[in-house]
């Protein structure tokens, strides 16, 4: 019998870290998350079950310090030449168990990567934030406070809008930034995150990348207010809420890199998010395969196993084939990230590469949404049943297709790249 590890991935892409750590993380998740995940939906508000699972994952296993340099108590992953591939492996294993946990953990990495990956390294900020994540016995989260009420996709659409629609402002007052604005939906909001990365503008209405600022805001500062978590269709382990910044003051050096470079580094971040999205989806689909395999092998049509019926085999064969293709594509996004300055001959911060990676994420999202839907239909009256786990993944992964500017922005990026569109 083939196993989930038999789904394709280019062997030469696998990082040294992956070879050893994948087994560790998988075993951990199989013991601490997968047996309990069916109860997570009812735990969406209080996280009575979810919080201890995060403590084990992020503190006992140590994942929350993994990006930081070893001299600050971390593992040095962000400084390695395989940070995207390790991110992929981690996100895939987490996605197999619970995509809500996967996104909560990976989004903690997300704003930190803006100051950790060459050529965008800010040593002073790394040193500043390292103790928050490395010297603690509780899970600590970060968040990327990006979306705004007037239109989420415009902030993501830096290539066209250049940050011109951002309404969250940063004003320099002496040696402090004063932040004002309203953000929606950041993962790890709703009282979870201790640190926010906040995309904002130093000159409202300007599309000049130099006016785009990425500033770190500790969540416990005066003027930071978070709403209660939203109730959603799924993704119970990921809390989202409104955040208001009212005259929040942070040191001037909490800005990631400065005029121009903030926008570039932020653009790099988008690719990391899209790559991780692919990994959440391929991980979830690998679990889909496991659960579907059991159902079609033990349940019957015409008194024969479902999988032995040619028509049904045609459906489940396509599902498995799609998982295989998506996994190859997903690993390709990770490798584009790790080749950094020369992926396909273009820098990672180029619109070309952002467009390509968005394109893959869009494709993988569509395949995942369709395949989970098909798999539920294969299960028939059991498809909507939480005991088979497929419906939970189906609910959870839909948001992956929708986030980060959504499907339409992916299509626009692809069109802009392939057809030289100038006004999209």
């Amino acid at each position: 019998m083939i196993k989930i590890d038999d789904f394709s991935r280019p062997e030469e892409y696998i990082s040294p870290f992956d070879r050893h750590f994948r087994k560790v993380i998988r075993k951990h998740l199989e013991q601490t998350v997968m047996p309990y995940r069916r109860q997570y939906d009812e735990d969406w508000k209080d996280h009575h079950l979810i919080e201890p699972a995060f403590d084990k994952l992020m503190v006992e296993l140590g994942l929350q310090k993994s990006l930081f340099p070893q001299e600050y108590g971390g593992w040095g992953i962000a400084q390695s030449d395989y940070v995207f591939r390790v991110g992929y492996m981690l996100s895939e294993e987490l996605g197999r168990a619970d995509t809500g946990m996967a996104v909560a953990l990976c989004v903690t990495f997300w704003p930190l990567l803006v100051i950790m990956i060459e050529p965008f390294v800010n040593e002073r900020l790394i040193k500043e934030f390292a103790p928050m994540f490395c010297n603690t016995d509780k899970a600590v989260f970060a968040a990327n406070a990006m979306t705004e009420p007037q239109g989420g996709s415009d902030i993501e659409n830096l290539g066209l809008m250049g940050g011109g629609t951002i309404r969250t402002t940063a004003r320099l007052d002496g040696d402090e930034w004063v932040i004002n604005g309203h953000k929606l939906w950041p993962t790890n909001s709703g009282g979870v995150a201790k640190l926010f990365g906040v995309p904002c503008t130093t000159n409202p209405g300007s599309s000049d990348p130099k006016d785009f600022a990425f500033i770190y805001v500790p969540a416990d500062l005066p003027g930071v207010t978070q709403g209660g978590p939203y109730e959603k269709a799924g993704m119970a382990a990921d809390k989202n809420s409104d955040i208001w910044f009212e005259d929040v003051r942070v040191p001037s050096w909490y800005r990631a890199h400065g005029p121009g470079r903030d926008a570039e580094a932020f653009y790099q971040l988008i690719s990391f998010g899209q790559m991780a999205s692919c990994a959440f989806l391929t991980g979830a689909m690998m679990n889909l395969y496991e659960r579907l395999y059991e159902f079609v092998s033990t349940r019957t049509y015409n008194n024969r196993p479902l999988k032995e019926n040619d028509a049904i085999a045609g459906i489940i064969g396509r599902i498995a084939g799609d998982i295989d293709i998506c996994r190859i594509l997903g690993h390709e996004t990770a490798m584009i990230g790790d080749r950094r300055n020369k992926p396909y001959g273009k820098p990672l911060t180029s619109e070309d590469v952002v467009g390509r990676i968005r394109n893959i994420k869009d494709f993988v999202s569509d395949r995942a949404v369709e395949n989970f839907g098909k798999a539920m239909d294969v299960l028939g009256a059991y498809g909507a049943d939480r005991d088979w786990d497929i419906e939970k993944h189906w609910r959870d992964i839909k948001i992956i297709q929708l986030w980060m500017g959504g499907k339409q922005l992916c299509q626009m990026e692809a069109a802009r790249y392939f057809f030289n569109c100038e006004t999209l």
Binding site: D154, K232, A233, N240, R299, Y301, V378, G380, R386, Q401
Partner: protein, 413 residues
């Protein structure tokens, strides 16, 4: 939104007579006053308000006895010609809450095989009338053939396993079957309509009141949608029922599927229509590229168009099915296997179309489509649940086999 739903999603209005029209209008008023205008309150107090609204709909308006003969105290909508009217009623309910619609769809499906003028089973109809024409809300559950279990060969209905056997007992019949999954409401049902087989393996249906000794229910099953229709697996340990509670006329199971496809299709169309309303409001109030209203952006407009197309086509198809069932002679005769086949084809198309519309619309709404606050995601979960019930087992494969059997005279599928 400038136009009303009837102007936008057209269907042949001549199928709806004046009396039906007034009932449909009443149900629409109920939906808008009691649920659509109070979405937030309804969601936050769901378990209480769901019960209250079922009371109002079933007992105050009287939809619980809608399809019973007038002689039995019903509305007398027990003629094939009432199919389009019932379809419209269920659309209106689905627009408000698919769970309420699904439970009524189950009841109307069961009664369609018993109380219709053309195949009236007088004794059973009288018995059911005393059950339904009452001051208590009733909840039936339907147990259809489904996936079998490896190593347990069962009699089949077109490839689907029938898990319940009926044997003759003193004064009636005895039912036995383990771990059966009703379509909905197994945990709260007061009557089970079960597809089963006799000694010769011929399919029949049995009506089993919930107070029959020998019924076991598992704890509630958590599910994607239709959350108010709390489900559970059911077992029958030699549950004995009166003889008249078993109906074994040829084609009875096909009839169940036929009506179920129509009625659950109506519930999903209603849910799709309300999703359309939510999306319309969204697209008029949100902007893209710093200022353009979402609906005025060509790409967004094309997605909006796709949503409307899917719902519009699904509705037209569904009313074609209602018409086919209401006047079968105008659709090439009263052939049960023809109705069964076309209901399967149209039923699966309708569910797929509505779900596609909601999926595409959610893509446009982004995170808001996913948040419970906007109510879009509930329709998405409810319709997906209905689709899985109807198209399963095996992703429409059985429906496709039914279709191939009809069109190509396949004999071994």
């Amino acid at each position: 939104m400038r136009k009303n739903l009837d102007e936008l999603f057209i269907f042949p209005r001549q199928l709806i007579d004046e009396e039906s029209g007034s009932v449909i209008s009443l149900v629409r008023q109920w939906a808008e006053k009691e649920i659509l205008s109070k979405r937030m309150e309804y969601r936050e107090n769901y378990s209480r308000l769901f019960g209250e609204q079922r009371d109002r709909l079933n007992l105050t308006i009287g939809l619980q006895w809608l399809t019973l003969p007038e002689k039995n105290g019903g509305f007398g909508w027990n003629d094939y010609a009432n199919a389009p009217g019932i379809t419209s009623v269920l659309c209106e309910i689905g627009r408000a809450d698919a769970s309420i619609g699904a439970i009524l769809a189950m009841e109307y499906t069961i009664l369609a095989t018993i109380a219709m003028k053309h195949n009236l089973n007088r004794k059973l109809c009288d018995r059911l009338a005393s059950h339904y024409v009452s001051d208590e809300v009733r909840t039936p559950a339907l147990i259809l053939p489904g996936p079998g279990s490896l190593g347990h060969e069962t009699p089949l209905f077109h490839g689907r396993s029938i898990g319940v056997q009926v044997t003759t007992a003193k004064g009636g019949y005895t039912l036995s079957g383990e771990g059966l999954r009703p379509l909905t409401a197994g945990s709260i049902a007061d009557l089970f309509c079960v597809v089963c087989t006799g000694k010769k393996g011929e399919p029949c249906i049995a009506l089993v009141p919930d107070d029959t000794p020998g019924i076991r229910r598992t704890p509630p099953v958590l599910a994607t949608g239709l959350n108010a229709c709390i489900n559970a697996d059911i077992s029958f340990d030699s549950a004995t029922i009166p003889k008249e509670n078993v109906i074994d006329r040829p084609g009875i199971v096909e009839e169940l599927y036929t009506w179920l496809n129509l009625y659950l299709g109506a519930v999903s169309i209603g849910a799709g229509a309300n999703f359309f309303e939510i999306l319309s409001d969204w697209s008029e109030t949100r902007v893209i590229k710093g200022g353009t209203t979402l609906k005025e952006n060509p790409l967004c407009a094309s997605v909006l168009a796709e949503v409307a197309e899917e719902i519009a086509m699904a509705k037209i198809l569904l009313y074609d099915l209602a018409h086919l069932l209401s006047i079968p002679e105008e659709w090439s005769g009263t052939n049960a296997s023809r109705s069964f086949t076309f209901s399967g084809i149209i039923g699966s198309r309708v569910q797929a179309g509505v779900l596609k519309a909601i999926n595409r619309g959610m893509e446009l709404m982004g995170s808001a489509g996913y948040a419970k606050e906007w109510h879009a995601e509930k329709h998405w979960r409810d319709v997906k649940t209905i689709q899985s019930l109807l198209c399963g087992v095996a992703a429409e494969a059985p429906v496709r086999m039914d279709t191939a059997r009809f069109f190509y005279n396949c004999t071994e599928l």
